[in-house]
Symmetry: C3
Subunit: 288 residues, 3 copies
């Protein structure tokens, strides 16, 4: 058992939150990272109310890859601590009327997380246990395997409904994950799928009775690679995903701040404003 | 209701046929264009006996895109006025022993129609109500959604059987529409599919009892985009179809008259001659 | 009937083994090539114990393409003379502690065979009648159509389990043959499939009761092209497979000896050594 795994979970979290503190303005860890006796990590998003991916959470996800690689981890399962939401996707507050410098940093961290998934030394999987729209589903697609729990929630990539045009590399990742034609229908019409439809359409690879079983199935997937040399796995994965990966690299090489420019368009800001106002009205209705 | 929709259907047709007259040698409109109360247009091909796509019909389809875009149309459904044929595809008379100048114009109009579908501001769909071989199926693939009526007819891309090698961009569009592997089998062997097999193989997205229901289902598809900003839809579509679209653009940039050169090859002209003779014999047999 | 088909099968084999002798150090033909009355050839791999693809066998496969093209052959079915093995794939003895000059020649012949399948003048199919791992399945994918007999064996691409990273062009061929996403899972995890699962996942196109029926089904596939001009078929095939084909061409243009360099890496040689030792132990266990 490696040194890393011998350190108690509490101590490791303190260690991680120490790491985080240096790169984040948040003093609280926004995720929990624990490694089981077989060397498989579970990264649990815990940023209530809806695990929105803000700058700090993205930084902590990115840091987790480095920490786990340093410990020669066997694989990583991503899940959520919340009962009904995996994640609401990118934090809309980062996108609407933003500080441009922070927005650039936000996007560079998002792309950094994407590159770490694409080039991970160890296999990754996602245990979906609640709503998974937009950027949250992009995060799930970045991992190699997806298992969803059953439940009354939806999964999909609904950027167009928010007035956002998905990045080409995300579209290529959808075309890789689903059937190319079905990806077109889903991406243009912002279709959200029930867990069973998500399985049928290829958005997820398996379905489980609950979150615990979803995590277990993800671990079973990771164990498939026990007898396969690590670098053989990661180089082969990188090659099978060469189209979305090279599209992302080209996108960043052309102009690393493209997404900032795209989000700052008046049309997109207006759409986001309408969406935020709609969300606020819903909240007010709930509280009265 | 927009001004365009208030103009009576007859007047609009006169207007369109007026437009057509200036770009076409035909004094008759070869298609009918009507817009319903919800702003969805139905473009009905009406060039008996088999709706062959000749230069003038392609020009009128192209013009329809401009007219509908100018009227802020919500979407367009393509169908046929004929009871048993959607379209026989490209008019073989344009290809066999042609006037080279007209053949170049023919191809530039065909590619122009393709580009307009790829970059359309509004969603497009095709209601297939009869035979749909070769170029007719290419036209159907260019629209975003395909519904076929049930019936005793076939759908597919049978260019190789006519001695014609499909353009690379059309092959990429098939690989996008169907499963890549199944597209290979269908394209090389010129397989034609019954409506139910076409559904199973992904050549069409839905099946309807008759033409009216097929049109209605196409309209239902178009209404999915009611709450999605138009430019978000069209940019996302353009991105999901970037491979066939960029292949077409590159093809045209290399040599806009490639198709003319390809069709003028002796082998192809010979194949077309054999095919036309076969068709003429069938006609003679029918009339005796 | 062509002259070629009139020559008795025995004479033709002598002729072929004569051709082989000039390009091969083996005095025995490692395959059997016979052409039926309809002009369809059956190429039977016969290099016991497991039809490993060594330099000489690859040279003979390559030569067969030239011989059959010269005879205006209608198509070619590849199968195996062995009862339980189609082929074990690339001969591991060519890869482990090799003579570098011979290894370069081995790879150039392997790539040459691949290019001949991609650009074949006639349709090709594979009748799988036993185990088909790694390079053997690559060979099967190179042909246009695959029928497997039923049986207690497996089919798939398990290079990563041997510590080998598949070439990008082979991964692109898998992504073309199977669903892109399923190809990723199969390639990274070195999944081997039963005949019925191989059918379900698209690794093969049809399943037969036995080898004879598998060959017959391959011939039926080839007959689909009886009325399609040969060059139309082969140019269309080349276009539908443009991604793996262009990837291979680019790979060879960059550095024709890339595979030699990859195989000579210490990690890969170590993995191969472990694998060979494991195989030798199994043999010793069987003989004691």
């Amino acid at each position: 058992m490696s040194l890393f795994r011998q350190i108690s979970r509490v101590n490791r979290l303190q260690l991680l939150s120490g790491c985080m503190r240096s790169i984040s303005s948040s003093s609280e860890p926004l995720l929990d990272l624990s490694v089981d006796g077989q060397g498989i990590a579970v990264l649990t998003l815990q940023r209530p109310p809806v695990n929105s991916l803000n700058l700090e959470l993205l930084q902590q996800i990115s840091q987790s890859f480095d920490d786990l690689a340093a410990q020669n981890c066997k694989g990583m399962v991503v899940t959520s601590s919340l009962p009904t939401v995996f994640s609401a996707g990118l934090d809309i507050k980062e996108l609407y009327k933003p500080d441009i410098k922070r927005l650039n940093l936000f996007w560079s961290n998002f792309h950094n997380v994407a590159l770490k998934f694409f080039t991970s030394e160890f296999p990754t999987a996602t245990a979906i246990n609640g709503h998974t729209p937009a950027g949250a589903y992009a995060l799930a697609m970045l991992s190699e395997y997806r298992v969803t729990a059953k439940g009354n929630f939806t999964i999909g990539f609904n950027d167009t409904a928010l007035g956002i045009v998905p990045s080409t590399w995300i579209i290529e990742l959808m075309r890789h994950t689903m059937n190319s034609r079905r990806a077109e229908l889903a991406a243009t019409a912002s279709t959200m799928f029930s867990p069973s439809d998500a399985l049928k359409e290829g958005l997820v690879d398996d379905i489980a009775d609950d979150k615990a079983e979803a995590i277990e199935k993800c671990k079973q997937f990771i164990k498939k690679f026990n007898n396969i040399p690590k670098w053989t796995h990661s180089e082969t994965l990188r090659k099978t995903r060469s189209i979305p990966l090279e599209t992302l690299k080209k996108f960043l090489a052309e102009n690393p701040n493209q997404m900032t420019e795209s989000v700052m368009k008046k049309d997109t800001q207006d759409s986001l404003g309408v969406y935020i106002e709609m969300m606020n009205q819903r909240k007010r209705q709930k509280t009265t």
